[in-house]
């Protein structure tokens, strides 16, 4: 008797083969989904890191943190998230560095920060017991703060005021001293002795291309001789110092760097984005274009003794025809005597987009898009000097971008002026 009948395996064999195929396909599919999820998680964390970095910059808007210290904050509910925020001064701007870390994902962003001041004001003229006199095709658009004597029209060499309205905006006769620049003491200190920590000295060569990140040490070139910058490309965390004079030629490409010397001259058609610091004079020749955020800062140590009659050379900031500066232009002197010299001269067809701040005499023949803070205006026309006169000047506070950030005047609200490396 046969106990076990032989069962044929033919069909079962096929079943097994098909099952294995199905299982392999299933496994492939599930592992695909799993990998996709892991990649998704990674991208979510990376995206979160980017968002947190921007939160870091928003944090810098409303919170003041001390310079050169690393502040660690956690912005999200994740306990593996940490953001390091640090800030350091860079000329009249600040450098903000935010680094967000979520698990293995990190994101770092560096920006030049300017202060966001209340916009809408076109002119702040300090109380100098004189009325502001408008002559020729002068046009002021925006709110103004004037001395008690206010504003009136006048005549220079037979030219009267051609406008229909004195000021296109609100007039407040409440002027006092000029509003304070909050980081002035730092600027003074900086011009006297730039910081010597975290720097490395370099030498400049012709045809040099140098790109220094703001997360690394500052590269400094220092000389006691006259320096001509030409055929060179410098970008980022670089300071050029001369204790005599610096001349910049159009073949020099400067971006985000600081140029420091008692006398700085920018030759015709120089283009770039950099900050100029001087103690005697800054001269921008025709066609110079300084893009945002640039700045011209002249902190006068002592007033020049000799009365200066030569118009081509002024002890201050001179911006020639067709030159353009996007950023703050600042002249500051502790000396309170006004005299009849021009400290900032903005020539016809020259334009400043940003702030012009002058503690002495401003001779404005060109155009300012933004705001003017000055102690006094001066107009040198037809061989005479007219105090507190504006001749063919244009000031317009509405043509400046609402995203403009510049001088540190109002309460602290540091916002991104430019993303840098």
């Amino acid at each position: 008797m046969k106990k076990f009948t032989k069962i044929k395996a033919g069909a079962i064999q096929y079943v097994l083969v098909i099952s294995v195929v199905i299982i392999i396909v299933l496994f492939a599919f599930i592992s695909l989904v799993y990998t996709q999820k892991r990649i998704q998680l990674k991208s979510v964390l990376y995206k979160e890191a980017i968002e947190v970095t921007y939160m870091g910059f928003n944090y810098l808007k409303t919170n003041s943190i001390p310079f050169n210290t690393n502040t660690k904050i956690s912005f999200t509910d994740y306990d593996f998230e940490q953001t390091e925020i640090s800030k350091k001064p860079w000329g009249i701007f600040d450098i903000g560095i935010v680094k967000a870390t979520l698990k293995k994902e990190t994101f770092l962003k560096v920006a030049l920060l300017g202060n966001k001041n209340r916009q809408g004001t076109a002119l702040y003229l300090a109380e100098n017991n004189q009325a502001l006199v408008l002559v020729g095709n002068t046009n002021i658009k925006g709110d103004v703060v004037l001395p008690k004597r206010g504003v009136k029209t006048g005549t220079i060499a037979g030219t009267s005021y051609y406008g229909t309205k004195l000021i296109d905006g609100n007039i407040a006769k409440t002027a006092n001293n000029l509003p304070k620049i909050q980081n002035l003491s730092y600027l003074k200190q900086f011009l006297k002795a730039p910081p010597n920590e975290g720097i490395e000295y370099i030498s400049l060569e012709e045809k040099m291309q140098l790109n220094q990140s703001f997360t690394e040490n500052t590269k400094v070139y220092k000389t006691s001789e006259n320096l001509s910058l030409r055929d060179i490309q410098l970008r980022g965390n670089i300071v050029i110092i001369s204790s005599a004079a610096i001349t910049v030629y159009p073949t020099a490409i400067l971006e985000d760097v600081l140029v420091i010397a008692p006398t700085v001259t920018l030759e015709k058609n120089v283009k770039g984005t950099f900050q100029v610091f001087a103690s005697k004079s800054i001269h921008l020749k025709k066609g110079v274009q300084l893009q945002y955020p640039s700045s011209l800062v002249l902190l006068q140590k002592e007033a020049p003794k000799a009365i200066n009659s030569n118009r081509t050379k002024i002890h201050g900031i001179k911006i020639d025809n067709n030159a353009l500066v996007k950023g703050p232009v600042l002249f500051y002197s502790d000396d309170k005597k006004n005299g009849y010299d021009t400290q900032i001269l903005i020539e016809e067809n020259a334009q400043v987009i940003g702030e012009v701040y002058c503690t002495k005499n401003l001779e404005l023949r060109g155009k300012v898009s933004g705001v003017v803070y000055t102690n006094n205006f001066i107009a040198k026309q037809a061989g005479s000097v007219y105090s507190n006169h504006l001749y063919n000047a244009k000031i317009n506070s509405s043509t400046i971008s609402p995203k403009y950030n510049g001088l540190f005047i109002d309460e602290e609200n540091k916002q991104v002026a430019k993303w840098v490396e």
């Binding site: 079943v15 199905i22 299982i23 299933l26 919170n63 999200t76």
Partner: protein, 119 residues
Amino acid sequence: MGRIRNLFTRKHPKVSASSLVETIVATVIIMIVFGIAMSSMLGVVKRTTENSTYIIDSKLQKLSYLYQNNELKVPNTIEIPQWSIVIKKQQEGKLTFVVFRATHKKNKKTRTKKAIALR
């Protein structure tokens, strides 16, 4: 008849067929395996679509952007299909956040997003 059968066997060799039981067992096994595969695949797909927060996340992102650019009042409540979003300020230590909290109307799931409060 015999002649016909001979004709068949001569020209076509005999193929051994499976028994009915065998075929049924095989079909059942294949169906079971296929069923398991389908259900687990469907489960994975369903979970992915259910957990997808893409739409609400991008909505929260947009609201936060609007807030940063002063285009959104706080506190505020916004209703979109399936989600309701509550926006309010919240103090955490030294920091003031604006919290965007979205709650799903059916399954009560929440998504939150924070932004630094403007001055």
